[in-house]
Structure formats: structure tokens, C-alpha cells
Symmetry: C2
């Protein structure tokens, strides 16, 4: 663990190149209006001294940080069991890196952390925030709004507070669910059950709505409440088998839930897909391919969603002309389409 050595300053570079600080600054920041021979001298001096700009000093005057906070408001549950999180982070990281922004990760686990996160964001350490995994009546959006930090949500927030101007990126949960159920109906299954996700998240509610779209007059007892976990899927599946033993298909709110359902179905001697067809949601690889039988599921392009969130946020910051050209127009929410991936389970 070495100690930091004093780093060269703009001043030092200027002295070595025999120019003023302003000129060095222009060269370093790629501004034009500097003649080539001078610029070259400056570049050489930068090289020789190993000069790296001091970001704190720069931020102090520009009031920009080139850093984005990623807030994951997840009390333990899905984040760990699910590569979802890592994938989305990767997408975000890629996009931010491409635009020379840093990623500051804020994980929260409870009310106390909310205040901390709000304070941090209000502290103006970052230029914007990407916020995930909101639950109903979560105070976070409100707090962030008040902090005055530009934000893009991952998943539709259940929050009317901001009225307009709330930007989010989400999958077409409802459409994907509808497709899944219609696929099951198309296979001739007439008793399609649904295991919901945690209904305090809009994604779960939307998937349930999609199910209902396709099953207009469904028996309410064909729906059991899960929580996006494997154990929840098992529990709900048992409940369904008890209440509606005649069911011949299950649409699970996510793959983890589907895996739980598969296990319970097997326990009860039901063959998949012969007796009961099963469809999941997420296409969580490599597990969706590796279940027994391989899982038919609804895929969403998670990484691309992450990238898009970052892009929308950066665009909202209105910074580079390039960013504006790329997308054009004021940022607005985006719903990603989903695809049904057919494997063996349905």
C-alpha cells in the first residue's frame, strides 16, 4: 500500500512548456484556438510529467462531476439470486465509460439508508442518478426529486409525485406476460394459472395485468401470489395444486419462481410440459437453459436497458452536442419489447 506522491499541476506543465496555464487547459480539454507547434509542446510536457488533471479542482469550478450514481434499493431479495443486477450494471457501466463518466454505486437496505442516499445526492457529488428496484410507497423518489438531481428510473416507478417529467426504462411486462399466456392458450391449455411476483413492485403488477388481458374471465383461484423468489414459487405452486388441481399450465412471474414451480410439480408427479406447461419470465441465463426441462420464458434485453438508462440520463444532462445528436428530442420513457423464447417446458 504505497503512499500517493505529489502530482504535477497545470502550473508545472505550463512552466515546462513555456506557456500559460490557460493554454495548457485549452489543450488538455481539447478546445481549439491553439496553434499546432504550441499544442505539441504542451502535449509533450503533459506526457513527460505524467500530468493528470485534478478532478476535484475541475469540479469546483465547472460544477460538473462526470459521475453518475446508481441506486439499488433492494433489501436483499432479488439482487443476489439474480444475475439481473450484474447485467444491468454492466450495461450502465459500458455506456458511462463510453462517455467518460464514473459509476458511483449506492446500495441501500432500509429506511435509514434512504436518508443517507438522499443526503449524498443532495450533496451534489454526482450529475445524476439511476434508480432501481423501487417498491410501492417507497419514499426514495420523493427524496431524490427534492434533492434536485436528474434521475432515470429502472422499471416504472409507482409514483405520481413528479407528475410529468418522470423518466424511466422498463420492459413491456404487460405485453410479455400476455404473449406468454397466449402461447400457453395456443398450445391448447385452457386452465392457465399465474404465480405473481412481489406485488409491491410495478413489474409484478404489470405481469399480472398482462395475464388478465389474455385470461379475461379467469378463475381468480388460478392466481397465487409469489414474491419473485424460488421459495415463493414453490409455496404458490403448492397452493395452486391444492386449489385448482386441474390446472394444465402455469405462467410464473419470473424464472426463479418458475424453477420453484417446476420442483413442486415434479414432487407431485406432474410431468412438464405434458401435464402442466410452464413459462417463466426474464430468460435468466444460464439457468433458464439448464432447468429440467429447459424453460420457455420471456426474454428482456437487460443489458441494453441499462445502457439506455445511462444514455437517457446523460442526454438529460444536456452536456455534449454529440449526445443530443445521437438521440434527439427531450428524454422520455422507453418501454422495451420482450421476446418469447421457446424451450421445452411449454
Amino acid at each position: 500500500m504505497t503512499e500517493t506522491v505529489p502530482r504535477p499541476t497545470l502550473e508545472a506543465v505550463a512552466a515546462r512548456a513555456g506557456v500559460s496555464r490557460a493554454t495548457v487547459s485549452r489543450v488538455v480539454n481539447g478546445a481549439d484556438g491553439v496553434t499546432e507547434p504550441l499544442a505539441e509542446r504542451v502535449r509533450r510536457a503533459v506526457e513527460e510529467l505524467g500530468y493528470v488533471p485534478n478532478q476535484a479542482a475541475r469540479s469546483l469550478v465547472t460544477n460538473r462531476h462526470d459521475a453518475i450514481a446508481v441506486v439499488v434499493a433492494e433489501p436483499e431479495s432479488r439482487v443476489f439470486a439474480d444475475p439481473f443486477f450484474a447485467r444491468q450494471l454492466r450495461g450502465i457501466s459500458r455506456e458511462l465509460t463510453a462517455h467518460d463518466n464514473q459509476l458511483v454505486l449506492l446500495l441501500t437496505e432500509g429506511r435509514h439508508d434512504h436518508a443517507r442516499v438522499a443526503r449524498y445526492l443532495a450533496g451534489g457529488h454526482v450529475d445524476g442518478a439511476l434508480v432501481f428496484s423501487l417498491h410501492l410507497d417507497d419514499p426514495l423518489p420523493e427524496l431524490i426529486q427534492r434533492a434536485g438531481v436528474p434521475v432515470v428510473f429502472g422499471g416504472r416507478p409507482d409514483w405520481s409525485g413528479g407528475g410529468n417529467g418522470v423518466v424511466y426504462v422498463d420492459s413491456d411486462n404487460r405485453g410479455g406476460a400476455r404473449d406468454a399466456v397466449r402461447h400457453l392458450l395456443g398450445l391448447g391449455r385452457d386452465r392457465v394459472a399465474h404465480i405473481t411476483g412481489a406485488l409491491d413492485q410495478t413489474s409484478a403488477v404489470d405481469r399480472l395485468d398482462g395475464y388478465r388481458d389474455a385470461m379475461a374471465d379467469a378463475d381468480p383461484r388460478l392466481v397465487a401470489e409469489g414474491d419473485f423468489t424460488l421459495a415463493g414459487g414453490e409455496r404458490a405452486m403448492r397452493e395452486l395444486l391444492e386449489n385448482r388441481p386441474g390446472l394444465n399450465a402455469v405462467f410464473a412471474a419470473n424464472d426463479l419462481t418458475a424453477v420453484g414451480a417446476l420442483r413442486v410439480l415434479r414432487e407431485h408427479g406432474r410431468r412438464v410440459p405434458d401435464d402442466v406447461a410452464v413459462v417463466g419470465f426474464d430468460d435468466m441465463l444460464p439457468f433458464a437453459e439448464q432447468t429440467d426441462p429447459p424453460l420457455t420464458t420471456v426474454r428482456q434485453d437487460i443489458e441494453e436497458m441499462g445502457r439506455l438508462m445511462a444514455r437517457l440520463l446523460l442526454r438529460g444532462l444536456d452536456r455534449t452536442a454529440a449526445a443530443r445528436e445521437t438521440v434527439g428530442g427531450p428524454p422520455s420513457s422507453v418501454i422495451f419489447p420482450t421476446t418469447l423464447v421457446r424451450r421445452a417446458s411449454a
Copy 2:
């Protein structure tokens, strides 16, 4: 996406409280030597104005950032399939949060990114770095060393460059592997095969060494090379069944590999554990519990390892007296013990 409003400065608070900037600064930073009535006036002014210190200005003069970089040098592979990463992050996040440090996440995917990361660290944006997933002959440690940033590695780096002073936190991979194999031997299995991890990582090498410790005179054809992935596990298992069809146990370098092995064993009609006993490594939940049969595996306390890495790094920064008291002595590497978790597969 709201725009940021101008935030109150120290100056403003001072004016409102009718004191000097210095006094406000003292109160805000918890220094003593301010009489109670004055301090109270200042606190009220802070409250009323909603003052939050400007970190950039502070960093500029203190040359501290209260931020730690987490570098994950993982080209795609394990990070996604494995909650490992998320778990460790959680541990790190908890510890950093407890010490009011921020977590700056740097994901890399290739040589090009190495330079970027090195530049970032050299730029003095963070006070230290936690570095993961190093591969053999990775240039990163060297670059970081040169950047002069205090660093703690996750997993033993294969790197003699720094000589002494390299601090890392690792599981007892060798001991864990030895325990796993001994457990298999104890079950009366005499032909224990091993599917390695990616041998360009020390964890894989150490687990292989542990296997060899317990299987001193093992047939070299009982070892097949994997890469920590499910597909790699399948491939290696096929190879083993071809070369040594008489094997009656497999120790897989991680759980994902073990799952691949289980699948291939089933394909070949071998019953687990009756014909072939299988042990994994990681105890990757909830999957390790949910394989068929549930997987016997070697558990490591991933989150605690993350916490400890953060703690060691912060201690190395020698900042708070409190941190020093908590641990005491100069930081040195730590090897975490592992536990064998017995389930049905062996």
C-alpha cells in the same frame, strides 16, 4: 429531470449564524473548541439553509476523497452467472458506508480498459482501490502499483512484483478443496476426479493443489480442466467419463461446474450420489440447494470477505484512530476458512 438549484455555501451559513467561515467549518467537521451557544447557532443555520458541504472544494484542499474504487477485472465470465459478485459488493458497500466512504465501481473488459482504470486511479479520484478477479499475467496490479494507490486484492494475486506489502483477502481454497476430497475419500470413494476452474486464476490453482494434497498419488487423467462455467463443467465431465469411466466421485472447482457435471452424469445414466458423488465449491445460494440432488459443497463467507477487504483498505489509509483501534497493527493478508456443507450429492 429537474435542474440543480444553487446550493448554500459555508459563507452563507456563516452569515446567517453571524460567525466566520472558520467557525462553521469547525462545527460541520465536528472539531471541538467551539462554545456551545455558538455551535448551536451554527447548527440551526445549517439546518435552515439545508447546507451540505461541497465535496469537491473539500477534496481540493484536504486531498482526500472518502471514496474507494472497486475494480472488477472480469471479462464477462463468472460475474454474470454468479451471485458471488453481488454478495461481495454488498459486504464492501456495508463497510464503506459505515465509514462514510463512497463506492466507485470500475468494470473492465479488456486491455483497453486497463489503461483507463490505471489513468483513473492515478488521477487521484479515490483514496484506495479494491481489486478483484485477477488473472495470471494481468498487467493491472503493476499499473495500479505504479499509480501509487493503496490497494487490497480480492483473491491472492499471482504477482510478485510488489514483493512485500501486497495485501489480499482470500478463501482457504487449498484447505477447502482438501476437505472436500477427504470427505469423498471418507465416503469410501477411491477414484475421485477433479474438474478444475480456469487455471489462469490462483483460486483454481489452489483448489487443484488442495485436491492433490488429498490425492497424493492420483492418476493425472482424473483431472480435467474446466473454466468455472457450466458449459466448461459439462465438457470436462464428458472428458472424464471417457478417460476414466470407473470414477466414483467428482470434486468440481465451483458450483456452476458441479451443475454441469451433474447434468452430464445424468445424461450418462450415472446416479448421484450412488454411482458418483459430487462436491462443489462456493455454496452459491439458492442454486446449490436446488440442484438435483442438492449439492454438497464448500462454503465461503463471501460477504464477510468483502467487508474485511474494505476494512483492511480503510485501515491502511490510516485515517481514523477508531479504525486503527478496531483492528490494530499493520494490515496484512487474511485467509478465510471454509466449511463443508453436506447435502445429498455426496
